[in-house]
């Protein structure tokens, strides 16, 4: 009876919990088998395969026939509070549109943020570009891209945040000149003000726009009308503003009058 209850703990778990459990199996054993896990968690083998496929993307295992083993290469772990993606689809669509602005040979600046991180994913197959970023996540994403040179800005590592800020970042940024800067935002005021939830990030964002010839703000519609701690400028200072069509047309029209080219995407 007791045994049964303990086993039950491993059943009827949400998929993410099951995947975490699978990962922990590697602490005990060097490898796992699909059939064994299927039995253990009382799900079909197909589900385990899908779990392993997810883990292969995220969690550094290597799939084999019949199971998986730990990845060979060594990892450096950086803290990253896995925030919930709020408008994942919109962010991806916005990133796709942003990708179209990029041409071969350009030097880009990529800000911290989930939307810019999505853009980084799409830039993996770019040719001969340089990406300057304060984000360890962006750097991690692009480090293997053959056509991309990654320059990480210096600075203080904020605890629990995968990015760099501070005076050093600002000084470091001043060393560069870029063609195009992509920035996220934690809020866009109805008057077009751009907000960050962190003062240091706001200062960095301001400098990014100065050292880049053109700049582009990426924000899904949920950010519009929101404010946050620090204002880093207004849409009058940027050249492109990309959002999704769920944003009120009247407000976008007002934003357009400030100067930036407004681009909207479907989802």
């Amino acid at each position: 009876m007791n045994i049964r209850r303990q086993i039950t703990v491993l059943k009827n778990l949400p998929s993410a919990a099951r995947q975490t459990q699978i990962r922990e199996r590697f602490a005990e054993r060097p490898g796992v088998s699909v059939s064994g896990l299927a039995l253990e968690f009382d799900v079909s083998a197909m589900t385990i395969r899908r779990d392993l496929a997810v883990l292969e993307d995220q969690a550094h295992i290597q799939r084999t026939h019949g199971g998986a083993v730990l990845t060979q290469r060594m990892m450096l772990e950086f803290d990253y509070r896995g925030r919930r993606e709020n408008n994942g689809a919109a962010k991806k669509a916005i990133a796709r549109e942003a990708r179209k602005l990029v041409q071969s040979g350009q030097r880009l600046i990529l800000d911290t943020g989930t939307t810019t991180l999505e853009l980084a994913v799409l830039l993996k197959d770019a040719l001969n570009i340089t990406v300057i970023t304060p984000s360890l996540a962006v750097a991690s994403e692009l480090q293997h891209a053959p056509g991309v040179e990654v320059i990480l800005l210096g600075g203080v590592i904020r605890r629990g945040s995968p990015d760099l800020t501070g005076p050093a970042t600002e000084h470091c940024l001043e060393l560069f000149a870029a063609d195009l800067a992509f920035q996220g935002a934690d809020g866009i005021g109805l008057d077009g003000a751009i907000y960050n939830s962190d003062l240091r990030l706001a200062r960095v964002d301001k400098i990014m726009r100065r050292v880049a010839t053109q700049s582009c703000v990426l924000a899904d519609h949920s950010k519009i009308g929101q404010t946050a701690l620090a204002r880093n400028g207004t849409l009058a200072d940027v050249d492109f503003f990309i959002t999704n069509t769920a944003a009120p047309a009247a407000i976008l029209k007002r934003f357009a009058r400030l100067g930036p080219k407004i681009i909207t995407v479907k989802p």
Copy 2:
């Protein structure tokens, strides 16, 4: 009777109490399911979802399909060709000796390298120090240390190497002043010359010594008598040289005449 009372305790609770209870579930299980909790607390699934949404904001958990799991730190992977540790014991002993040179409140520079990485491990419990480094491995190691502020230098990410180099790194380094710089070396010539196997690292090392009041070179005996591509200076430029006792005493005596304090450790 007892059982009944315990079950009853879980029903008709104010929302905050229920949320606390949910949080405690994570101590027992790897994750919780919406349907299970709904049954357990005798409320609708929607209510549980709202509870989890609240708990998610408090940063403890992460919602998933079907339930929630504890927030997991996402790993940012940086390639790290795990080189074979040649004189692991000697390097650890050298790092222990280097650790003794560090005092609270100091600003340190830690170079790239396996020996300096060992030192980073020992610095985790230091109080109120600042570590400036071009090494992602060092930064990763120290990011959670409460008494350590980590400043990562900017620069180009070398493919397959966990460190930053290039003109940006050099400029960035110039922004700082430190009390003590710790450097590794790929070779120490019999004349006291310090060698790196990478030209860019050599330039960075040279600047490190300039911006630091004192400097310390860490190298096990196998490096003595070796040369490498780039010479970044000589032992006459450094204040401390730490190696292990397997190094020939005659050569160490000659090194001492150049100026640095020579420290040897047993293994």
